[in-house]
Each structure stands twice: as structure tokens, then as C-alpha cells.
């Protein structure tokens, strides 16, 4: 939990920086563990409900542990009209999880996003910050090819 204190101090223990503090913490943990939320509230002298409120209001935060690889499927309008829902279905099938869930082996978390701003290349799938444009359901398997060992590990 020392890391949390360091981040809080970086922002001068400033309450207004709550969202930035939680973002930095999440970047390290991949999610916000309960004890961390309590610690942040204590350090900033804020009611726990306010920290919890912020952590659950904004989509960027997760209270559940997330997998090693983050998979984002864009469901923005441009991606939608070009068939993003079918791409999402195929991603779900390949990973064997629903949106918002993590594979049992903690390798992949599947999330959707409203728009990544790469609309000209839609539909878009992003794995760990690597953008894959002009996706079709048939191309989904190929995207996960480099992670295939990991997927098979899950199925084994």
C-alpha cells in the first residue's frame, strides 16, 4: 500500500485530484481494490462514499480485478454501422466471456468503449493499446493469434 501513499503525495494530498489519483492507482493495479479506496479516503480525509461514488460513476474505474490483457471493442456510431456488434459477438466467443468480464485464468478482460476516435477505420478492436482497424468477425481469431497460447491455456 506504500505505492498508494506515494501517488497521493505526488498530488500534494489534494482532494481535487481524486480522479487523477485513482487513475494512477488503477494504472498500477489494473483495478481499485477495496482497501485502496479506503486508504485514499483516509488520506484525503474524504467520506468513503465520495471516493466510492467517483470510483463507480466513471467508466474508467473497475472495482473488480482485471486480466493481464485489456481487450476493448469500440461500439461508436461509425463502428456500429459497419458491423461492430457482430465483431463483439465473435470476440466474446473467442474469449469465452461476456462484456465486462475476465477470463478465468485472468489473462483477458473484455470491455466495450463508446468511441476511440479512429472512426475512419472502424470497426476497431484494441488489445493492450494496439489498435486493429477494419475488423470483421473472420479477422478476430487472427488478432488473438499472438495470444493464442494464452487462450488455449484457459481452455485446458
Amino acid at each position: 500500500m506504500k505505492k498508494v501513499d506515494v501517488i497521493v503525495d505526488q498530488y500534494g494530498c489534494n482532494r481535487d485530484s481524486l480522479i487523477s489519483i485513482l487513475q494512477d492507482i488503477q494504472a498500477g493495479y489494473h483495478y481499485l481494490p477495496e482497501e485502496v479506496i479506503r486508504q485514499v479516503a483516509r488520506r484525503l480525509d474524504l467520506p468513503l462514499i465520495q471516493v466510492y461514488g467517483v470510483a463507480t460513476f466513471f467508466k474508467a474505474f473497475s472495482l473488480k480485478p482485471r486480466g493481464k490483457h485489456l481487450v476493448h471493442v469500440c461500439l461508436g456510431t461509425a463502428c456500429h454501422v459497419r458491423g461492430a456488434p457482430a465483431v463483439l459477438d465473435e470476440v466474446k466467443r473467442q474469449l469465452g466471456v461476456e462484456t465486462g468480464d475476465t477470463t478465468k485464468d485472468m489473462k483477458f478482460t473484455l470491455e466495450t468503449v463508446n468511441c476511440l476516435g479512429a472512426c475512419a477505420l472502424g470497426p476497431i478492436v484494441v488489445v493492450d493499446g494496439n489498435y486493429q482497424g477494419k475488423m470483421r468477425p473472420g479477422k478476430v481469431k487472427g488478432v488473438f493469434k499472438q495470444y493464442r497460447g494464452a487462450i488455449e491455456g484457459k481452455q485446458a
Binding site: S20, F57, N114, G117, C119
Partner: protein, 543 residues
């Protein structure tokens, strides 16, 4: 680099930069914006740098990485100056040939050229691609000259000279007057006259004299990405606009509230701010004028509602992003209850242009009520997808057919969605509609932030309406009952219709619900939420 201390210092620096640059020298440019990176531009840029470092060429050719040039569909692009030869869909494997033939010998490689789908002919020069033909790239053209990590590229284009003018030659009232005469309206969606906001924030009383400047880069409308492109490609134009605004209203503290989904924009903006500080454009005593101003970046948390000004400010204060009533406007009491002026990224980027070239020049572009240009993201079922900057008043037909190159696979245009989740679908029958703030509103849609999503006959209009309502049910903050509960009910009805359980009376019920949500919601999200449904009923309600 020592901080610049005067306007003359900037002029000298610019002269020095220009004297070291030769416009006739060969320069290889590749765009590494998010669209380019999605297509492998990082590898291409790396390969070019490696090739140019080899014997024979080392030190004789310039290389620049820039933001997106606009035509995202042909990414990754490599442009070779001074002839402006453009290659599209370049892969790392193509790079050695580009360097050995085009860069070293001036020979054009035909297979990498853009083919005009209408004529089948190859096009050599970037400016001759029809996609760029009807555009007026006031804000976006500079992107191809600027490496966003190098402030000197921006200075070479005359960057920060508008700021000098404002700091040393103009009274804030004169700046206000200029912005007023230019007719600039907010590019974030509502189209509110910019000078009115500035004037209100300047004149509003503040208990301790503190005023804030905010740049709204929480570009939440799905399908719109011009703000991302400007921040990634030419962040200094936005920063310069903000400093001018700050000087005019008397603010010393600025924020850029940027979406967390735009990591590259956050990075490039951060680098630009740091360089602006080093050069003396931000911080204490800017350019020796005695004026202090600095800008902080605040990353959003992924909530659409935070594009709304009061929700955005709540989020900046570390609270959940719920809007508040605007009986007292944020220009009077905004962030921390101080006078606050908030403008959108694209609005800020217009400001230095207006100051430099004058309101008279600016107000000649566009239509009666909508001046200047607007950047649209032309996406969906259209051949040429990308960012398009056009003078206000251009018709939808010119956008879709002349710039966009028509609908793929010979299909028929059905509708064009504008204005994001607050806008509506404009039917094919209104294709001659001139695009400006007022005309789009009359047609039951709105300008919004400039998303333009083209739909063909395969797209179901009820599904589109349902898509937006579903989006809004997820993004409603839940504060107002009509928005929170009403949208849920609308979604139920629309789901029933798309799944074959629709009833004739559903349409009437949707209209009634829509009217109530519009009337009884607090903020712009609820107030415009039924638009996609109501406009669909208006234009596509055929029995």
C-alpha cells in the same frame, strides 16, 4: 533554450529557424496519428528513419512525423516534399524502395499511388486527391507541417505571433471586439457565440479575482474525432488560443479536460505544454509582458456527461460528474464558483487565426449565421472516410459525393446522422441542405461536434435510434427522473419494435415520452436525448 522575453525575441527565433530551413530540400513526412498507428505507421516511421540514416543519404534529407493529414482511409501515408508525392497504404516492406527510388532519384513508384476510384487513374500529388478538392483546411492544413513534438515547427508557421499581438498591441476589449466581429460560434455543439462567453467571464465579479479558462476536449460524441486530431497534430494552436482567451478575460489558470480514451492526444499535449513553458509562452511573465498563465491537463474518467460544462467542472473538482442547474451560468460561477470560460478544442484553435488575419477576413468565410470552417468526421458507409474541413454552408451532397466519393458497392444513400446522440438522422431527400448551425437545427438534427455518419440502405433506422437511446441510457448520470427512467422506457419500446413486437400506438407513446424528457431534464444530455428518435419518426415514419 532560454525563455523568450519579448515579441522581438520571438521574431528573431523565427528568423533563425527559417534561415536553417530550405523549402526545396527533400523532406519525407509520415503521419503517426492514432489512425495511422492503427494501420502500422509506427513501423513505417521507424523504417524510414533507419533507411535515411544509411550512408549516402545521411544528413541530406529531412524527416518529419506529423499528426493525421485527414484522409484516414489511405493511412499509413508517406509524403515526399517538395513535390508532395503521396504514397498510401505503405508498409515497412515498401520503405527501402521509396527511399532508394523516390527520395534518392525522384522516381515515382506507381503501385503505391492513390487510385481515383471514379476514373481509375493514379494520382501523384497529395493536393490533387479529390478528397481534398472541396475542402478549406484552415485549421487542419498546418498539421502536415508540424511535428507536434517540436514547437519550432509551429513557430516556423507564424505560431504565437497572434499571442504577441494580443499581449503587446491590443487591449483585451479590442480582442473581444475582434472575436465578436468574426462571428465565431462554439464548435462543441450548441454553437453559442464565443465572444458572449468571454465577455461574461471577463465582466463577472470574482471574490478573489480568480478566473478560469477550460478547454473541453472530452470529445464524447461517438463518431467525431476532430478534437483528438487537433490535439495530436497541432496542440500549440489550441494552447495559443487558450492563452489569448486567458489574457482577454484576465485568467491565470487553465485546464484541458481531455478524454482518457485518447492517450496519444494526452501525450502530445503534455509535451507541447512543457515546450511552451520552456520557450516562455506559458508560466510567469509570458514573453516579458508581465502576464502569467499556465495550463494543467486533467484526464476524464470515461463519462459522456462530462462534456456538459457543469458536469465537467464537477469532475475537475474531484466529484462525480453530475450537472447542476444553470440559472447562474458558468461564465459567472463555474469552477470553484469562480467565473469560468469554457470552449471546445476546435473553437480555441480558431482564435489565433482570427487575431492574425482579422475578423473581416474570417467573417467572409461561411454563411450568414455560421462563420468560418467546420471540421467534420465523414465516416460510416462512404468511400473516402476521414476528417474533412469545409466552409460552413457546403451541402450534404458535396460532402458525401464530391469529398466522400459516394457510397461503397454502388449502394444507395439512406440517411446521414449528424450531431451524435443529441442529433438526428437527415434523410436522403434533404441532400441539398447546406450544412451550418441553423440549417441542421431546422432539419431536426444539430451540428454537434461534427460527426457525420453516412448510412446506406442496409442500415435500419429504428436500429440506429435504438443504438443512440441505448447509449444514452448508459450515459445518463441518473440525476433527473425523466431522463433516467424515460430513456429506459424508450429503449424498451424501440427494442420491441426492432424485435418484431411493435404496436401501432408505440410511435405516439415515443413522441409523448420524448417531449417530456426534453422539457423536464436539467441538462443538454436529457434535453436533446430524444432527438435521434424524434427525427427518425419525422423522416422515416412510413406505414
Amino acid at each position: 533554450m532560454n525563455k523568450l522575453r519579448s515579441a522581438a525575441g520571438l521574431e528573431q527565433l523565427r528568423n533563425r529557424i527559417m534561415s536553417q530551413r530550405d523549402p526545396e530540400r527533400t523532406c519525407v513526412v509520415t503521419s503517426v496519428g492514432t489512425c495511422g498507428l492503427a494501420r502500422g505507421a509506427a513501423g513505417v516511421a521507424q523504417a524510414i528513419a533507419t533507411e535515411l540514416n544509411k550512408d549516402g543519404l545521411k544528413g541530406t534529407v529531412d524527416f518529419r512525423t506529423t499528426g493525421c493529414h485527414g484522409f484516414c482511409d489511405i493511412e499509413p501515408v508517406v509524403v515526399i516534399y517538395p513535390k508532395r508525392i503521396v504514397y498510401c497504404h505503405v508498409t515497412t516492406a515498401d520503405v527501402p524502395q521509396i527511399i532508394s527510388e523516390t527520395v534518392a532519384k525522384g522516381k515515382v513508384i506507381k503501385r503505391l499511388l492513390y487510385t481515383n476510384p471514379a476514373t481509375g487513374r493514379k494520382i501523384v500529388r497529395e493536393q490533387n486527391i479529390p478528397f481534398y478538392g472541396k475542402q478549406y483546411r484552415l485549421l487542419t492544413d498546418s498539421i502536415r507541417f508540424v511535428d507536434p513534438h517540436n514547437i519550432e515547427d509551429y513557430i516556423a508557421l507564424g505560431g504565437y505571433t497572434a499571442l504577441c499581438k494580443v499581449l503587446f498591441d491590443m487591449h483585451p476589449e479590442e480582442v473581444l471586439d475582434e472575436i465578436s466581429k468574426s462571428g465565431l460560434r462554439g464548435r462543441g455543439g450548441a454553437g453559442f457565440p464565443t465572444f458572449r462567453k468571454w465577455e461574461a467571464a471577463r465582466n463577472a465579479p470574482s471574490c478573489d479575482g480568480v478566473r478560469y479558462i477550460i478547454c473541453n476536449a472530452d470529445e464524447g460524441d461517438p463518431g467525431a474525432y476532430m478534437d483528438r486530431s487537433l490535439l495530436e497534430g497541432n496542440p500549440h494552436s489550441v494552447i495559443e488560443g487558450m492563452i489569448i482567451g486567458a489574457r482577454t478575460i484576465g485568467s491565470h489558470h487553465g485546464y484541458v479536460y481531455v478524454r482518457n480514451e485518447y492517450p496519444l492526444a494526452v501525450d502530445n499535449l503534455g509535451i507541447a505544454l512543457e515546450q511552451a513553458r520552456q520557450y516562455g509562452f506559458l508560466g510567469k511573465d509570458i514573453l516579458g509582458s508581465g502576464f502569467d498563465f499556465d495550463v494543467k491537463i486533467s484526464r476524464g474518467g470515461g463519462a459522456f456527461i462530462c462534456g456538459e460544462s457543469t458536469a465537467l467542472m464537477a469532475s475537475l473538482e474531484g466529484r462525480i460528474g453530475e450537472p447542476r442547474p444553470k440559472h447562474i451560468h458558468t461564465a459567472l460561477k463555474g469552477l470553484y464558483d469562480r467565473p469560468t470560460n469554457l470552449n471546445n478544442v476546435e473553437t480555441w484553435a480558431n482564435v489565433p487565426l482570427i487575431i492574425n488575419r482579422g475578423a473581416n477576413w474570417y467573417s467572409k468565410i461561411g454563411t450568414e449565421g455560421s462563420k468560418g470552417t467546420k471540421i467534420f468526421s465523414l465516416v460510416g458507409k462512404v468511400n473516402n472516410t476521414g476528417l474533412v474541413e469545409v466552409p460552413m454552408g457546403i451541402t450534404l451532397k458535396e460532402m458525401v459525393y464530391d469529398i466522400g466519393g459516394g457510397i461503397p458497392d454502388g449502394r444507395k444513400l439512406k440517411a446521414i446522422q449528424t450531431g451524435g446522440p443529441s442529433g438526428g438522422c437527415i434523410p436522403e431527400s434533404l441532400i441539398d441542405l447546406p450544412v451550418d448551425f441553423d440549417k441542421l437545427t431546422e432539419a431536426g438534427s444539430m451540428m454537434g461536434s461534427g460527426g457525420m455518419i453516412v448510412m446506406d440502405e442496409d442500415n435500419c433506422m429504428v436500429d440506429m435510434a435504438r443504438y443512440f437511446v441505448k447509449f444514452l441510457t448508459e450515459e445518463s448520470c441518473g440525476k433527473c427522473v425523466p431522463c433516467r427512467e424515460g430513456l429506459d422506457r424508450m429503449l424498451d419500446i424501440l427494442t420491441d419494435i426492432t424485435e418484431g413486437r411493435g404496436k401501432p400506438e408505440d410511435i405516439e407513446l415515443l413522441e409523448e415520452l420524448g417531449d417530456v424528457i426534453k422539457e423536464a431534464s436539467l441538462c443538454g444530455l436529457g434535453g436533446t436525448a430524444p432527438n435521434p428518435v424524434l427525427s427518425t419518426i419525422r423522416y422515416f415514419h412510413t406505414f
